[in-house]
């Protein structure tokens, strides 16, 4: 009898400890990313993929423009959101070596809302729309790839040819680019 009583006491203490201990909370950064992700409205030209579905803070995005000079290409980006999101913007990189005035050969992207114009009220949707816009309207006045920007400024036709060439895995001025046709 005594033994049963002490077992009961132990059990109660254990369940009290379990119930009393507060479970960990979802962080503010995660919650915000969750809200942004679940409310994304992606057009058919954009797909997103999570290599590790347990980790919503790191994912990839594939953009396949259906118009403009980069039509028929398939462009991959990595998104990395840190614990200071949305105070800090997500880190976005292009994983392919492509010919684009606003993306350098290492995949760095020059998009104002990814850096100097980022505000916490902006969301992932805005960043994704911004990225897609870069393929519709490459911007030669904010160049990250100077040669490409120069080409675009001088003759649009020549630039278009270069884009085609590069997307096919060809050379532009002795630099070979990755084949990105879908």
């Amino acid at each position: 009898m005594l033994k049963i009583w002490s077992m009961k006491q132990q059990q109660q203490a254990a369940s009290a400890a379990e119930g009393g201990q507060k479970k960990k909370k979802v962080t503010a950064a995660q919650l915000r990313a969750q809200k942004d992700l679940s409310e994304l409205s992606l057009p058919p030209t954009i797909r997103m993929h999570m290599p590790d579905p347990e980790d919503i803070l790191n994912f990839t995005l594939t953009i396949e423009p259906d118009e403009g000079m980069y039509k028929c290409g398939s462009f991959n980006f990595t998104f990395a959101i840190n614990s200071n999101f949305p105070h800090e913007p997500p880190k976005v990189k292009c994983t392919q070596k492509i010919y684009h005035p606003n993306i350098d050969l290492d995949g760095n992207v020059c998009l104002n809302i990814l850096r100097e114009d980022w505000k916490p009220v902006l969301n992932l949707n805005a960043v994704i729309v911004g990225l897609q816009f870069l393929f519709l309207e490459p911007n030669p006045s904010d160049p990250l790839n100077k040669e490409a920007a120069e080409d675009l400024r001088l003759t649009r036709e020549n630039f278009k040819r270069n884009v085609k060439n590069s997307m096919n895995g060809g050379y532009v001025k002795n630099v070979q680019f990755e084949r990105v046709l879908k």
């Binding site: 979802v26 915000r32 969750q34 679940s38 997103m48 290492d106 850096r115």
Partner: protein, 410 residues
């Protein structure tokens, strides 16, 4: 609202002795190395010890740098390279009688809620937004309605050049750090394309070297701002680039300043802000006077200007605005049934909720990959998905931020 009852009001240094304050304060000093917060830490520690606090813990993740010695007076040239927390603790203990200071050389994030629970109040002289958000969220999360001791006042000090601020945060009762996040001036960043093509200032060259050139050359190696070899490399690259563009002024110390985001620290600003923080600590600990409600800014650029105001709590603050409310759940419900009940609640206007717990995603409305993956959960029983008292966080297009519910199994 007063959290501690005043024991005697006449002479604070006397009371402190007679009350034998135990485990009263935890002061952080993190980061003198890069923003002068360690400068705050030294001042705070000295003030606390001299005000009669008896048991102080100090956390700092940095080691002492030569450049700290001008204002971080607890350190000597022979201490360079040693952990700040350890050196500061032993120095103050050697000079002030009857005070126990326990140093911890590491990050505040290394410690858990149980650790923070042992203190009466927390004083921060941190140098980053991230660390402040972390300690703020942790202290808010610790508040347990059934345990008055779980509410730990947070005193936060910060300086930047001639300006500074100190504030008192009573977690869940008054405006928290997260509530005021939108008051921060955004960090001024230079467009990437400027760095890449037309640098105009020496700092642009340093940024170019650290943001663009380092990752290009060392693809998988992360730049360590504290590694002199790394800094030297950045310096050399930046110098070379500056010469290319005819820019003068790239030096080793400028390089260090730019990559570590050093804001010039002024010893007297630190002293003023630390004094204010410690006054508030003393007032809260003894009840000798009303404490700061709740934000004091100090501007020393031209003469002295201070302004004290009450920063208001934000209703939709993601940290303290919508605290978890209890929600009775039948463990036999499926997740889908649970969601249906939620939608029926008139006070929460939910239409397409996404639900997660800290350890698992329950249901995602989108994107398609996550929706497909979590859809099978809709059929599962609540008892197989969540534990009793576990928190579910819900976002919904109809909610400005998020809703947190504590599952209470019935």
């Amino acid at each position: 609202m007063r959290t501690m009852t005043p024991k005697c009001k006449r002479h604070s240094s006397m009371i402190l002795k007679s009350c034998k304050l135990h485990k009263f304060v935890l002061a952080y000093t993190r980061g003198a190395n890069n923003s002068g917060a360690g400068g705050l830490g030294c001042e705070i520690l000295k003030n606390l010890a001299l005000s009669g606090f008896k048991d102080i813990h100090v956390i700092d993740m940095d080691t002492i740098d030569v450049s700290n010695l001008n204002r971080q007076f607890l350190f000597r040239a022979s201490d360079v390279g040693k952990p700040k927390a350890t050196v500061a603790a032993s120095f103050v203990m050697s000079r002030v009688k009857d005070v126990t200071i326990t140093p911890y050389y590491g990050a505040i994030q290394d410690k858990d809620q149980e650790y923070y629970m042992q203190f009466k109040l927390v004083i921060c002289g941190l140098d980053s937004v991230e660390a402040r958000r972390w300690i703020n969220a942790t202290l808010v999360d610790m508040v347990d309605i059934d345990n008055p001791e779980s509410l730990k006042p947070l005193i936060d000090g910060g300086t930047e050049g001639f300006k500074g601020q100190s504030r008192v945060i009573l977690p869940t009762l008054t405006s928290c750090y997260e509530c005021s996040l939108d008051m921060l001036t955004p960090q001024t960043a230079v467009p990437l394309c400027t760095l890449a093509t037309i640098p105009r200032q020496p700092a642009h060259c340093v940024e170019w070297a650290s943001i663009l050139e380092w990752p290009r050359v060392f693809e998988d190696k992360k730049l360590d701002n504290d590694d002199p070899e790394h800094v030297q490399w950045i310096y050399e690259q930046a110098l070379h680039r500056a010469q290319e563009f005819n820019i003068s002024g790239v030096t080793y110390s400028l390089t260090q300043g730019v990559i570590k985001n050093i804001i010039p620290a002024i010893a007297s600003t630190n002293a003023i802000i630390a004094a204010s923080c410690c006054n508030e600590a003393l007032k809260i600990a003894t009840g000798a006077n009303p404490y700061l409600n709740n934000y004091m800014m100090y501007i020393g650029n031209e003469g002295v200007y201070t302004h004290t105001f009450e920063h208001e709590k934000k209703d939709d603050c993601p940290v303290c605005g919508n605290l978890a409310t209890d929600f009775a759940v039948d463990p036999e419900w499926t997740l889908e049934e649970f969601i249906d009940r939620l939608k029926e609640q008139p006070e929460v206007q939910i239409k397409k909720p996404t639900l997660v717990t800290e350890r698992r995603r329950l249901y995602y409305q989108g994107p398609p990959q996550l929706n497909e993956q979590t859809r099978p959960n809709l059929e599962k029983k609540m008892r197989d998905l969540v534990d009793n008292r576990e928190e579910i966080a819900i976002t919904d297009p109809g909610l400005p931020f998020s809703l947190r519910l504590n599952v209470i199994f019935s």
